[in-house]
Symmetry: C2
Subunit: 482 residues, 2 copies
Amino acid sequence: MQKLQLFNSLSGKKEIFKPIVKDYVGMYVCGPTVYSNVHLGNCRTWISFDLIYRYLKHLGYKVRYVRNITDVGHLEEDSDDGEEKIEPMEVVQKYTVDFFQTISLFNLLPPSIEPTATGHIIDQIELIKLIIKKGYAYEINGSVYFDVLKFNKSFNYGKLSNRKIEELISNTRSIEGQNDKKNPQDFALWKKAEAKHIMRWPSPWSNGFPGWHLECTAMSTKYLGKKFDIHGGGLDLKFPHHECEIAQGEAITGEKQVNYWVHSNMLTLNGKKMSKSTGNNILPKDIIDGNNTFFSKSFKPEVIRFYMLQSHYRNIVDISNDALLASERGFNKLVSAINLIDNLKVSSTSNGFDLIKWEKTCYESMNDDFNSPLLLAQLFEAVKYINSINNDKFSISNKDLIFLKNKMNIFFYEVLGLKIPNSNDKSILNNKIDGTINLLIKYREKARLNNDFETSDLIRDELLKLGVKLNDSKDGTNYIIN
Amino acid sequence: MQKLQLFNSLSGKKEIFKPIVKDYVGMYVCGPTVYSNVHLGNCRTWISFDLIYRYLKHLGYKVRYVRNITDVGHLEEDSDDGEEKIEPMEVVQKYTVDFFQTISLFNLLPPSIEPTATGHIIDQIELIKLIIKKGYAYEINGSVYFDVLKFNKSFNYGKLSNRKIEELISNTRSIEGQNDKKNPQDFALWKKAEAKHIMRWPSPWSNGFPGWHLECTAMSTKYLGKKFDIHGGGLDLKFPHHECEIAQGEAITGEKQVNYWVHSNMLTLNGKKMSKSTGNNILPKDIIDGNNTFFSKSFKPEVIRFYMLQSHYRNIVDISNDALLASERGFNKLVSAINLIDNLKVSSTSNGFDLIKWEKTCYESMNDDFNSPLLLAQLFEAVKYINSINNDKFSISNKDLIFLKNKMNIFFYEVLGLKIPNSNDKSILNNKIDGTINLLIKYREKARLNNDFETSDLIRDELLKLGVKLNDSKDGTNYIIN
């Protein structure tokens, strides 16, 4: 079978995946900043890497998956408000709880380690000392900056995002002079805290806080080493964040730190960039609650995950009412077929479908840079086959049915991380209960009109056994469920 | 109405609660050590403080509730195992996920801040510097110890647990000489790391790690200030942990740091201390799954929470099969009555129950050191009244019914943090669906035998509308739910 290939943003092409240590994979993915609600675009990024994590595990790799939490914030103190001071860690807690609640809806596996930026201030200070020692950073007025021009003399700054240093210089000249940096391209490793800045730690340079780019280098290096396999994140982080991470990593070791850079594309809403300021914005829970003006109905998180996986992680996903409605129909078709497998009739032989070739194509899809839409297309081939068996057009042997069921379960649950929503949906179950009880009440009424009191009493008694108590009154019959 | 009183372990008696700042409460509670699964005794402690947190909030206080996570561990590296090195933060992640999953079963509110020990190493180092400066700590060979004897000259060491320093000296003399401490009562603020010790940070004294007692002082001081209202924890932490916290806090400020020390009592299993080594031990999930040898059936987390709240937090809770079975019956009675409220008939006047007095007694119960068993006893008085109204023995007016329903909801859901489990229980709902559908199939069969095909087709079609598809075959009728 073809080997796993993945698209490396650094080389701009698909490459065969070769881990540094046989059977082991180290993967770092940029996680949330917990100073606001997680939005759907963020969720898409983490769903993409959840797919990659799941598939690597499925292939038998022992994966150490590190996804950080950025909890160093830039909140400032209000001047005179005596009592009601903002405590940044209270804000962090609120949005960390929101983050975990939101991603749990989408059935993401927990990473191996979820380190926080505030938990690694010492590691960041030690890295800054090292970068200064190597000559690629300088201190001015209590702040420390990375010297991009000097770094670029020995290494190549801009190689991930294909930017040339000359262009960067001419593009950033306009904002020069706004701080102490030697050159506007330089970025902060440590910032001296202004009087109002709440989060601050002592350091050799000042009471201050680390620059944002540094935390990921500190945590990836600590938990995955000076060289590791995969670094992922949203496409919007490619520049400057990941470019700066590369510079920090190479400044420390003199060598390339990450073998494969993987970027997940963005999510748009009705064809436009999601943005709070334009109002073209929706929170995951508002889609799931149906509490929004964008969509005609609520959609389950399983449908949203399925919809995202219908696009390749490197393509833009545009979310719209029609697209979600169509996706929901497709998802329901897939779920119905999976539910049907157990009830299929088996024959002495199979015909109409080449299961071996099908399985091979499924794996080839995923081995082709985690191509989930191609895998889903294959699952829908199996859906057609399942429905054809059900309609007696094709047949399946018992052995092949076990094989098919096993593979469908692996791809649906384990690899794609999909779930059958009904199984936990209280409101749907309650609707069905209400519906069936009301039908029984109707037929009991009919029996009574026909003076068939034996039947009407039996219905009442058997419902009572099920914990459903009927109350007859002048206005009709209602019921209480215990 | 009587004011809120709580038992202060420091004074050994109930005191009227007076917050330092009007309307605000700062509360610190010792959280989990995430190097093993959370056990049921831990859960009891956090359920106790969840009750206290909920009631303080209900009374209108703005509560900042800080519960820490101890993630600094003492794992050591295996000597020669090349590839499979333990990463402590991977262990931390595993048990942090377990912790959150477990407590979420018991419907605990998230605290305002959940700080980690590794996130506060710098704060701990700064505190050690301060304690050394104040003269209550000394360095030997890269480790720093708190000088208990010197502290005791100016303050009183042992006041929380009523221990006398002379007794402590005679009790600890036997293990003298096992390390560098001046006196065996002294405790570590910083430990130099042995070669094998994995978690370590640079400090002015050595590469090492903070002593366990220090993290709580660092985090409580950082987020609640040098003086705060309530410090809670399990009774087993009273000595030495909380005694050491008091010493650290007073060494820093020269004053009492905590106004009210609150301790939750322990949980036993079949009358004996829970302990892994004796096998008298059970994990929460094993009770809920029914996967254990101690109990005759599974119990829902709501029943376990209810059972714990049937004891006062300062009493021992003994958990046993008979006790849980009895508690489950009680809980079901309470839930049935709450479900019944909406269906009660209203009359022009009420009789048989003094609602005003009842409400007053409910609050008096909680104001008496958060006495949840007394509150539950009052709720069962209301249950009797509700059932009597249902049996036409007593009556209730519409206004009183609204009052009763409102108060029952406040005490049941908001204050006690109880939930009605059915509402989320898939298996119970599925049982009811199966039961009602099978009844409909039975009556459809009857209609067909009577050649009443109109009715039998109607049942089939109406079920299909509800997403239930009937399949008739020679062996009878089965169905698929979509």
